[in-house]
Subunit: 454 residues, 2 copies
């Protein structure tokens, strides 16, 4: 019994020593990032020198050059490009809208949704019909013909994690236009998917159903959305004027930018860390997803700087075209599958540069419990939970393609939808230390996955 007890204590003690050495190593990573991080400086160049990075624009190509250079500086053994066919939707000028009533008009803050068609030259004017949700749409389907539908579905404040409010509301943006066109609507204006207090309109991808006419679709700022709703509540029957020159050009090419750091034991097994280089066009794509790109580059830089030697090959992937069609993610996954590359883990950062809260992990219950067992090592740096709400769009295809375990950094979500796809997603809204804490937690997780496997 004494021997058993001794063995048990030895086990406890060795576990403790191991966790102590991990804890010290992660502290080393944190000190390195807090003192020498290049994440914030990299983000400044990406956002302030290059700016908005809508797929197919010159800025996307400038961003690819930037990414190559930044990955080299961070210490990648090898940096290369992966060519992808990407969509080429253009805004074509300033989107406009106004509410018209009693021979008067008031301008509205609007922005065309991604993939929207244009209005006819000079815009269109039609009676507005306010629709609160899809149930009401079906009930009033006979009233829609010739009208502009204003979807006023709220971004539910009661969800503590705002991602759930987004998941709840986003069908109105993504699918609402075609569902209204089915019943003869000639245009759609959708309440922005946001919890902000300002009036910035928030764009984002919309997908037409080819069975129905393609109608122009725009998002409207929350203050203006409330104004429209107030008019309807007072039994006013306004018309809307909408105008956009948005249209889709033939596909063009874009590139995933990949920086590789060769593994010492398993060079043919990969760990992916990534974000997406493209952004919507009204601002600088600082939180979405400049932050994820510089997070990922910083993981490489910091782990190298503290002298870490990875067992598996680590690939930093700056994905092209996440926003419009996810073509960068598809391309990466299909090439990985074609080459039969073993991917043990793929981690993404696409929730902004806010203070970290958790990781979301896609894997088996056993794998998820491995991540949970690492929480005591991450708590100090802000990650206190492992969620299982899926990982992001850029790593998700790797589940089916190569059976990868996937993960996403989930920073605090309270401010994310203030800026998401809107004109205020600028560098100044990113806090340096919050950004750095994201990189610290990501680097720590990659270290643990690389060291212990999954």
């Amino acid at each position: 019994m004494c021997r058993i007890l001794f063995g048990f204590i030895a086990l406890l003690f060795s576990g403790d020593l191991q966790s102590q050495s991990d804890s010290l190593f992660i502290r080393k990573i944190a000190d390195e990032v807090f003192q020498h991080s290049m994440a914030y400086g990299n983000l400044r160049v990406l956002t302030k020198t290059i700016g908005p990075r809508l797929s197919g624009t010159p800025q996307t190509y400038m961003a690819e050059k930037w990414g190559e250079e930044a990955l080299k500086v961070a210490g990648a053994d090898r940096v290369y490009l992966q060519q992808c066919n990407i969509p080429h939707w253009v805004r074509g000028g300033k989107d406009q809208a106004a509410v018209i009533m009693d021979n008067d008009h008031q301008l509205l803050q609007v922005i065309a949704l991604g993939n929207s068609v244009s209005t006819k030259r000079g815009g269109i004017t039609a009676p507005m019909i306010l629709i609160n949700d899809f149930e009401e749409l079906e009930q009033r389907k006979n009233e829609l013909k010739g009208k502009i539908v204003f979807y006023n579905y709220p971004f539910n404040p009661n969800f503590v994690n705002t991602l759930f409010a987004y998941f709840d509301a986003v069908p109105y943006r993504a699918l609402g236009p075609s569902r209204a066109a089915k019943y003869g609507a000639v245009g759609v204006v959708v309440r922005s998917m946001s919890s902000s207090t300002d009036n910035f309109p928030h764009t984002g991808a919309m997908v037409y159903n080819d069975s129905f006419p393609k109608v122009p679709a725009l998002a409207v700022g929350l203050q203006d959305a409330d104004k429209l709703a107030a008019l309807v509540a007072r039994n006013k029957n306004p018309s809307l004027y909408i105008s956009t020159n948005a249209h889709t050009l033939p596909d063009t090419i874009g590139f995933n930018v990949i920086g590789e750091w060769k593994g010492s034991e398993f060079p043919d097994q990969y760990i992916v860390v990534g974000g997406h280089l493209d952004s919507w066009d009204p601002a600088e794509g600082a939180q979405d997803d400049g932050a994820g790109c510089v997070h990922s580059i910083e993981v490489l830089r910091a782990l190298k700087a503290v002298g870490y030697k990875p067992r598996h090959t680590i690939r930093i992937v700056l994905f092209t075209d996440e926003e419009n069609r996810g073509s960068g993610a598809s391309k990466y996954a299909s090439e990985a599958k074609a080459k039969n590359e073993k991917h043990i883990f793929a981690l993404e950062s696409d929730g902004g540069g806010f203070t970290p809260r958790s990781f979301s992990i896609g894997g088996s219950p056993e794998q998820i419990s491995v991540f949970r067992s690492w929480l005591p090592l991450l708590n100090l740096y802000g990650v206190t939970d492992i969620l299982t709400i899926g990982a992001g769009a850029d790593v998700d295809p790797l589940v089916e393609a190569v059976g990868a375990v996937t993960g996403e950094l989930i920073p605090d979500t309270q401010r994310y939808f203030d800026y998401h796809h809107a004109g205020n997603d600028v560098f100044e809204k990113v806090n340096k230390r919050e950004l750095e804490l994201g990189a610290i937690n990501m680097a720590a997780l990659i270290y643990l996955v690389d060291k212990y496997g999954l």
Copy 2:
């Protein structure tokens, strides 16, 4: 054995039911706050209509009126004022400084420290000596005579919780001027206590040691501090020009504003919830501590709105003069002691309106473990830890005076020292949802303390 087991299961089950009912009640509080909170609107009025609230200024008195009204609207049974002697330090105009070298000068972003004396009219110019820390001060004490000491002690980035960096650096602001004057320095400039990337200087309280001459003391922005350090590193020997009209007038009066909500079972036992009404003067005191005031008022409003009936009497206290001398806190505590009022708990919010992370509790290990046992109820709303780093300055005197258990909301600290005591502590830096989450966690904690006692 069967009966014991049954009893055990019944106990588990009843515990579960109880925690379920608490969980549902806290969800009700959260929904109420997310949907109808007055915290953000109240903060807008306090910051935008009234503005900076330096003790003794007319704005402090306007803020007291505002507080009375806001507490009445929130549903206090009774609102009253508690008169205090408060210090009356005035800035007396714009503080100025410049670095002078080779017959050239460059202006510096500075702000006089609270309680500083003025320079002579027109300012003073003297050779600058850069001192990195108190150890170096002692080593070079013979070099200080007739000079202006520039304390360049860094705000250590390696502390994840920035409060520790502040505790570490703040002696240079609070005590540094007299320690330099002891050796003949004629003025002091201190590196701002901040982790920001901008150049706003950060003021804050300084305390003279009456044994030494009182020398004027200012804080300098971080970018300018780095410039000064770079000059010294290049063996330049600049002089500094500093000018301030700061001076102290005789004490004046201020008021703690108290809103009371009578308890049904223990009306003579009190739970305090508070923040401080005063602020430093360069901006609007939005995070410090407008947020704490509106948090506290919202606790009352929300608990009333969901139909809660407190067992103990809840007092919302908007303290006067936290920043200069803590006279509001002393007054409240000494009156509580004089009246022998039993205070079971006193909770403060003075860490800003950022996303909540934890509460810090001052109490016995048993009491702290009671708070820890409530964490599963708070996790969803962002509070995942109970710290024991002490509670804030406004409730702390209640420990000695009446043996109260104390607590402080500890929101995420990454951004706090970007704004603390600086010109950018404005309403626009407060996020509505983050502010509301603070109020939700505070209301939940007050509900639990009131219901279960301590």
